[in-house]
Symmetry: C2
Subunit: 207 residues, 2 copies
C-alpha cells in the first residue's frame, strides 16, 4: 500500500508517519519508484503499537525507540525483550536515597526475595513500590506482609494469566505486542476496574 493508504488505515497523518520513519520507529517502505514507496501490514501493525504506546501509555519517543530496537534484534531473548520494554516504560520515580527511602527499598528487596520472584535489581517497579511504602509510612500506615498479601495474590494471578496469553510459537512481533499490551494497557484495565470495584464495595458497605 502507499503512504496515503497507510495513513488512512492507521488514523495517523502522513506527516506523523514520516516523523516516525525519521526517528527510526518505523522501517522505511520498499522503494518502487523515485516518488513512491510500498508499505505492508507490518508497517500498519507497528504504527498501531506506537500509537497505543504514545497515547495510552504516554511513552516518550526515546522509550519507544529502545523497545523497537529490541524487537528488531533477534538475538534479544523474549524475556530480555520484555524486560527492555518494561524498564523503558518505567515509571521511573526519583530515588532520594534518604534513610526512609533506603529502608523502604530494602523492604521491597526483602519482599521480592521472600516471594521467591525473579526480578532484576534495576527494575523500576522496585523503586515504584519503595516510593509508595515511604508515602504509606508517612501517612501512618505500617506495611506488613498481611496488608500486602491480597495485592500480591491479585498481581501474581493477573501476571500468570498475561504471560499465559502468549501463544507457543507465535511470531516474535506478535508476542512482543501481547506482552507490551499487558504491561501498558491491561494495567490500566486493572486500575480502572479497581476503581469501579472500590465504588461498588463502598456502596455495599456505606451506601
Amino acid at each position: 500500500m502507499q503512504i496515503s493508504e497507510l495513513s488512512d488505515r492507521s488514523g495517523l497523518t502522513v506527516q506523523t508517519i514520516k516523523f516516525y520513519i525519521r526517528e527510526g520507529l518505523l522501517p522505511k517502505g520498499s522503494v518502487v519508484s523515485a516518488t513512491r514507496a510500498e508499505y505492508d501490514h507490518r508497517h500498519l501493525e507497528r504504527l498501531r503499537l506506537i500509537s497505543a504506546l504514545r497515547e495510552v501509555g504516554d511513552l516518550p519517543v526515546a522509550a519507544i525507540q529502545r523497545i523497537v530496537e529490541a524487537i528488531e534484534d533477534e538475538r534479544v531473548s523474549l524475556h530480555e525483550l520484555f524486560g527492555t520494554a518494561q524498564y523503558a516504560i518505567g515509571p521511573h520515580v526519583a530515588a532520594p536515597y534518604d534513610p526512609h527511602w533506603r529502608a523502604a527499598r530494602q523492604d521491597v528487596d526483602a519482599l521480592v526475595r521472600e516471594l521467591g520472584w525473579t526480578v532484576g535489581d534495576r527494575s523500576p517497579a522496585r523503586d515504584l513500590l519503595a516510593h509508595t511504602f515511604v508515602a504509606l509510612r508517612r501517612l501512618g500506615f505500617p506495611i506488613t506482609l498481611t496488608d500486602l498479601r491480597p495485592y500480591v495474590k491479585a498481581a501474581a494471578e493477573v501476571a500468570d494469566h498475561e504471560i499465559g496469553r502468549v501463544a507457543d510459537g507465535a511470531p516474535r512481533a506478535r508476542t512482543v505486542h501481547t506482552l507490551l499490551v499487558s504491561t501498558v494497557l491491561y494495567e490500566q484495565v486493572l486500575t480502572a476496574l479497581h476503581r469501579l470495584a472500590q465504588e461498588d464495595a463502598s456502596a455495599r458497605r456505606f451506601g
Copy 2:
C-alpha cells in the same frame, strides 16, 4: 505546637504550610497571641494526607480542596465522600465521542451492569476503561468477558479487602484517610507488584 514544630514534624516548610492555610486545605491554628497560633495533631495528620496526595497521587490543589471540603462537611455520607475523593482524583481522560469511543463506553456500561456493580454514571473510571478498550481494539485485541475475568476477579478481591480495612465506628477523618490511601497509594502498590509479578512470570516462561 507552633508552626515551626508543625513544619519539623511534617517535613514541609513554613511557607508551604502557610500556602495550604491560604488555599483552605488546612484549617487556621487557634490564635493564642498577636504573633502566635497553636496547631495540634489534626493539623499534622491533614498535612501528611495533603503531602501524600500531592507527591504520590500527583493531585492538583483544586482536587485536594474538593476532598477537604467533603471531609469537613459531616452531612456528606462516607460513600458520597469516597465518591467525591475518587472522582476528584480522576484520572479524567478525554472522551472524544467518536463512534469507537461511544461503542467502548457502551461496552463498559454493559459490563458494569452485567457484574451488578453499583457505580455512578459519571465515574471517571468508566471513561478510563472505555479509553483502554479503544486502544486495545486499535491494536487488534478484541475484548471479551473471558479476557477481562481475571482482572475483574483481582479488582473485586482487592477492593473488598480495602473497604473491609475500614474499622467500624472509626473516626470519620481516619476512615477517609484509609479510603483515600487505598485509592491512591495502594493502587500504586498493585501496579508495582503487577510489574514485578510480570517479570517473574516472564522469567519462568521465557528466561
